[in-house]
């Protein structure tokens, strides 16, 4: 039982502090993950808030078939997908048009400590949606291939193929932007 699960159980038992712990643990990572969908940090923050509100209001049952973090990110992804379907905003917003770039940089700086990783994360914005998601989940959040497959609702083989192609695309993107890439 990871901390998220125990915190959630305490919250279901009536201890609101459990929800506070969940928010503290997963807020930043969830925002950045959802940002890989919507490419808008404020919208990603609102969607993250919606995800925690979903937990707080509807209190969905956690069955324990996956880790709590995987389950939470899957909920966030479903809410985001529903929101995008509703607003038909699947188009990628160019970096230049992002209004709150500073906010994203702040949260990125706080959450991703390594400078090198931050550069890679910024390079992700120029990749395809699915490449961004799989790379973020596996290299920044530390999910396994199976967990990433669960969150993205894909099979393991699809994740492996997606990861291979995403790495290739990221490599060429980094080379093009002058990143010193070590084999």
């Amino acid at each position: 039982m990871d901390n998220g699960e125990s915190s959630y159980r305490r919250f279901l038992a009536g201890d609101d502090e459990g929800l506070h712990e969940i928010i503290c643990s997963y807020r930043a990572g969830l925002i950045l993950y959802l940002n890989s969908f919507v490419q808008n940090i404020n919208m990603a923050e609102d969607l993250t808030e919606d995800t925690f509100a979903e937990l707080a209001i509807k209190c969905p049952k956690f069955s324990g078939k996956s880790s709590f973090k995987t389950w939470l990110f899957a909920i966030g992804r479903n809410i985001t997908a529903k929101c995008l379907r509703k607003h038909a905003k699947l188009s990628v917003v160019p970096l230049e048009s992002q209004e709150n770039l500073a906010d994203e940089e702040n949260i990125e700086r706080n959450y991703i400590k390594s400078e090198q990783k931050r550069m890679v994360h910024q390079a992700l914005h120029r990749l395809k949606l699915e490449y961004r998601q799989v790379l973020y989940l596996i290299f920044f959040e530390g999910f396994s291939n199976a967990e990433a497959a669960l969150i993205m609702k894909k099979s393991n083989r699809q994740i492996e193929a997606l990861l291979y192609n995403a790495k290739k695309a990221l490599k060429s993107e980094l080379v093009r932007s002058g990143f010193e890439y070590e084999e």
Partner: protein, 394 residues
């Protein structure tokens, strides 16, 4: 950007807001649900009884007028006391069952000829009124000679009518003698006939069917079955009031289609009263086409009417009691089974008993008497009837 604490507070506030909305929804539901349930119940209840309510609003108030003139004289006769009670009963029955004989009487002037107080039994209703009420009989005592109460002026076409002045029964009641004239009218329609068209089928539940403005057609009296057969096959109704002619033609055709009529079986126990007329009852909202006879059993007088049931109402009802209720609004106090037949029985406030039962799907009999209930049961247990073919009887 919100930090962790801000997001936590926002999430909790959203949860509280959601809970308040939920409680409000529940409160609203609890307030409105009983009202909606009552409304739905009322609608369902209303729809369920819509037919009955619609029917009640169209059931007319009762038959028309019965005019049974009775002459009282100051003569004192020495009639035997033992015959008094039975004679009185018979008069009551005769007065009650002959539902309508008014227009003709008005025209004949027969009543005026008597020149003495008379008793009228009025069963009745003014056509055109919408409210329903149970059959009601009231007795009006007139202190001067006057025509029976009618609801519309009488047309001047007079049938050929013979006035019988011979009293049939005498009631001695010191110091007054009541002389009853059971059958003051005999009709002999002329022989010329015109073939009527097919009778229109009236739906008693159709709201478009308007009640007649003119007074309903009155029953016609005949001496015997032969006279009835002649009248039906001559098909001449020109001697009757104009507004009633079409009704009589329909009645004749209905009987002619059967080519027979029912008649109580005359045996050593039940005897038909040949001195009293046989009546033909036309179709009306309060009664079916029928033929009525007087019969005597153990000194009690019974009026037996064989009626033609309305097939439309028969198809929508189950049993004689329901039929009578739907067809003419008559209630049934009890149903009894006699001779494997279900008989609907109604006892009125003046202890008159109505007993009705289906003969087949299109015929039923209706017996009226002032005998006691046990006597009626006794009568019904031996009561039987036969078919009389009209052509043969001619």
């Amino acid at each position: 950007m919100k930090n962790d604490d801000e997001m936590y507070r926002i999430v909790l506030s959203r949860r509280e807001e959601y809970r308040k909305k939920k409680e409000k929804r529940i409160r609203t539901f609890r307030r409105t649900a009983p009202v909606l349930a009552c409304l739905c119940f009322t609608v369902v209840f209303g729809l369920r009884f819509w037919d009955d309510l619609a029917k009640f609003s169209r059931v007319p108030r009762q038959p028309d007028i019965i005019d049974k003139p009775m002459t009282e004289t100051s003569e004192t006769t020495a009639a035997a006391d033992t015959t008094e009670s039975s004679s009185m009963d018979q008069e009551m029955i005769i007065a009650a069952v002959s539902t309508t004989i008014s227009a003709q009487n008005t025209e004949t002037g027969m009543v005026a000829a008597t020149g003495s107080p008379q008793m009228q039994t009025v069963t009745a209703a003014v056509s055109g009124e919408e409210s329903y009420r149970e059959p009601e009989h009231e007795t009006i005592e007139h202190t001067e000679t006057q025509a029976p109460v009618t609801t519309a002026p009488v047309v001047e076409t007079e049938p050929v009518i013979e006035v019988q002045t011979t009293p049939v029964q005498t009631v001695t009641e010191a110091p007054v003698t009541i002389v009853y004239e059971p059958e003051p009218i005999t009709t002999e329609p002329p022989g010329t006939a015109q073939a009527p068209g097919p009778p229109p089928v009236q739906d008693p539940f159709d709201p478009s069917v308007q009640e007649p403005v003119a007074p309903p057609a009155q029953p016609i009296s005949f001496d015997d079955i032969t006279a009835i057969a002649d009248a039906i096959y001559n098909n001449d109704v020109s001697s009757y009031p104009e507004q009633a002619q079409e009704v009589y033609l329909r009645m004749f055709e209905k009987i002619r289609n059967d080519n027979f009529v029912y008649q109580p079986l005359d045996n050593e126990l039940i005897s038909l009263r040949e001195d009293l007329s046989v009546y033909l009852f036309p179709d009306a909202v309060y009664e079916d086409v029928g033929i009525g006879y007087y019969a005597t059993y153990k000194g009690k007088l019974y009026h037996v009417t064989f009626c033609y049931a309305d097939p439309y109402v028969v198809s929508r009802t189950d049993g004689i009691a329901e039929y009578l209720k739907k067809r003419m609004g008559r209630r049934s106090d009890k149903e009894i089974v006699i001779q494997n037949q279900t008989v609907s029985e109604l006892i009125t406030n003046d202890n008159r008993i109505y007993a009705s039962s289906f003969i087949d799907s299109t015929h039923y009999y209706d017996i009226v008497t002032s005998a006691s209930e046990d006597e009626v049961m006794d009568f019904l247990s031996i009561f039987s009837y036969e078919q009389i073919h009209l052509k043969k009887s001619r």
